[in-house]
Amino acid sequence: MATLNSRIPEGKLAQKWQYYKDHQKLVNPANKRKLDIIVVGSGLAGGAAAASFGELGFNVKCFAYQDSPRRAHSIAAQGGINAAKNYPNDGDSVFRLFYDTVKGGDYRAREANVYRLAEVSNSIIDQCVAQGVPFAREYGGLLDNRSFGGAQVSRTFYAKGQTGQQLLLGAYSALSRQIGKGTVKMYNRTEMMDVVVIDGKCRGIVTRDMVTGEVEAHFAHAVVLATGGYGNVFFLSTNAMGSNGSAAWKAYKRGAYFANPCYVQIHPTCIPVHGEFQSKLTLMSESLRNDGRVWAPKLKEDAEAIRAGKLKPEDIPDENRDFYLERRYPAFGNLVPRDVASRAAKERCDAGYGVESGEAVYLDFKYAIERLGRDTVEARYGNLFQMYEKITDQDPYKTPMMIYPAIHYTMGGIWVDYELQTTIPGLFAAGEANFSDHGANRLGASALMQGLADGYFVLPYTVQNYLADELHTPRMNPKEGEFDKAVKEVKAHIEKLMNVKGKKSVDSFHKKLGLIMWDYVGMARNKEGLEKAITEIQALRKEFWADVRIPGSPNELNVELEKANRVADFLELGELMARDALHREESCGGHFREEHQTPEGEAARVDDKFAYVGAWEFTGVDAEPVLHKEELKFEECKLVQRNYK
């Protein structure tokens, strides 16, 4: 068993990153252009990294499955981005942001990484402002902040309800500048199919051109995976339709460890499912919980009457409304972290107080409109309200919004050390694709922060440190040797998929997998269910490989083939998630084991046994993976039961 060396630099927590930067190896400007870096993914982490590498003078290739780097799903983040600027003078600091993030993550994150994240958070805001990101401002011309779940300060910077879009477009414009200069070559509509490992080091990737179907290999001295999360294993999630876990999964199968796959974030405020053809779930920003009050009917008969269409929510008087978050968590109220808010909604619905289909609660702006006036509410959330109305045909200014939790983000991912390097030297992972900073639960407005921190301010240092030793590695011919072998394997995999020639569509398998995952590996998990999930996923995987139908040919634009390749990986990844959830005999953050809860129904951690990162090593598709542990040492944060009361 290889030991997991997280390579955390020496020194006190607050000095580690500075120490690292002071002592790392550098590459001189003339040598940089002799070194090739591949970045897979063009979202906040990938786009920012590719642009920054290009600015430094490296030779960069960037890959995206969409038709433009601007479409990466980072674009859909609505609410904002955290930073420890303390502009509102409300007591924020780098340490407090660090502490909130570790606490919000239920003490399952690596302190050193989180501290670095909090430390560079301020630079991100400066960088984005310099790029022309139009953050919201006060009348005095200075930046405005709002508050988000899990924090008692206002540290979230935002651009209307489209912060992710604006930050991504900032990174995209920086990337475009480098593409124009020729330092970055962009490969759109190109999907990564495998990583190439030679003599233990990552040397490149294999890709498929999604328009022509051509499979080819690319060499690089270092490869960065910034390919997002795997939430789509649940079929229904807030992820984009194309979001997938395949790049991470291929890396896992080539030797990179996969850490904490069971940590999945369920976002409490999504628009409820409307029917069986539902293809995705739409998030309503967490920022809405700043002014909206969450409630369910206090009386069962009211809930029943609403479900039967006999009663309207606006007709229920205040005394018959159960503001359950404010009731259970008076200190944080509607702004408790996401995992807590989600479970509380599920608890109400399971107890029979849900509305609509029974799986929905209300998020009400009546009180905000009374307090602030409709205009202010409209200025803050107008675009979100409009989106809600387009989808549901209901006016949230008049009737409360209906919300229900949905799969949103995966805290788990490829295991990386302090340098964001995976267990395969030369292969790095950034953003949601890695596991590093959010522990068992991510706080709102921290995903954007982490993606950009990794891309702009971490990888440009750490990848360089690695590359300094690769100066003497000559460029390899990607048509020969191991590259050729990897290309042939990918082609064989595609052939195998095409040749199943069964009867069922890829989506039908994906939906079945999603249901298994939601029922047994979703918001609440138990031993029995997880074991059942593992057996059912294995059976479904067999059925997939016997009965999936992919029309068309592999040598053309073939959407079904793309989906099949991703779902084939999800069918393996889902099992690993269940295994991880089964082995982790505790509740923490997004991972809630029914066997481990406090008498009040809160998550109960088992710190003496599980204060570690669970990193899994691949041993074969149908073989049991091997667990490696990275013990988490907490020097600054005391492990306590999270308390939002």
């Binding site: 600027k85 489209q162 759109n188 539902q278």
Partner: protein, 254 residues
């Protein structure tokens, strides 16, 4: 929905085209019992599921986030880019906008600047090229001033935000009778020209982006305003006036 709504039966006329060089044609399909609460693309999913089970090639169309922000979806439906609803992308168009028994015509974006790749998928890489020509502020990572070092009037920041909300879907070009990309280009030029950070190289940016737009063969704007009407994000043609102003003032100084 707790109250059952009647499903829609629709006839679909869909543009099918095997590849960029092949001739395309319309195929007619029918779908039944579509929930009025489902989105247009979910209706397309139903159609494709049906086609796959029948052993036919499913309809290829671009889509990704399905929440109206990535700009990937791009269908021309019944005479409108993104279909007959205001301020929405195709993915946010819902079936309640259609009547039972209706014939729905679905076409790809049509413009010389956006050649068809397959079925309803077009190539919009021209937009990326325009962006690479100048759609940025030339700052490298690091070494920038504090975010609050330069106060920006709220009005300017808000106006820049409105321009910046462009999602690059191409509905403006698809709608414009001249195949002009002015709304797209002007949104980026405006956003950056309004902010002090972008003001520094505003002249260079306007000239470079317009030159690239022309080179790629997009048409000349004649101010019909159709782009603004069909834009899913309601980007105003006032941005085009600003681009004209920026460009002409920049050229006058050459």
């Amino acid at each position: 929905m707790s109250i059952e709504k009647k499903g829609l039966n629709l006839t679909l006329k869909v543009w099918r085209q095997k590849g960029p060089k092949e001739a395309g044609r319309f195929e007619t399909y029918s779908v039944t019992n579509i929930s009025p609460d489902s989105s247009f693309l979910e209706m397309m999913d139903v159609l494709n599921e049906q086609l796959i089970v029948e052993g036919k090639d499913p309809v290829a169309f671009d889509h990704d986030c399905r929440e109206g922000i990535c700009g990937m979806c791009s269908l021309y439906i019944n005479g409108h880019a993104h279909g007959p609803d205001e301020d929405v992308t195709t993915c946010q168009l819902h079936m309640r906008k259609f009547k039972d028994g209706e014939t729905v015509t679905i076409e790809p974006w049509r413009s010389a600047g956006f050649p068809v790749i397959k079925d309803l998928i077009v190539d919009r890489s021209a937009f990326d090229k325009i962006m690479a020509a100048g759609g940025f502020v030339s700052v490298n990572t690091g070494g920038v001033p504090d975010g609050n070092a330069i106060p920006i009037p709220k009005k300017d920041a808000d106006e820049a935000m409105d321009a910046a909300s462009c999602i690059g879907c191409g509905a403006c070009v698809a709608t414009c009778k001249n195949g002009s990309a002015m709304l797209f280009v002007s949104a980026k030029v405006s956003q950056l020209a309004l902010l002090p950070q972008g003001r520094v190289e505003a002249a260079r940016r306007a000239k470079a982006m317009v030159a690239k737009m022309d080179e790629l063969g997009f048409g000349n704007c004649t101010n019909t305003g159709a782009c603004e009407v069909e834009c899913p994000k309601g980007i105003s043609i006032a941005n085009i006036a600003r681009l004209n102003r920026e460009f002409l003032l920049a050229k006058l100084q050459d």
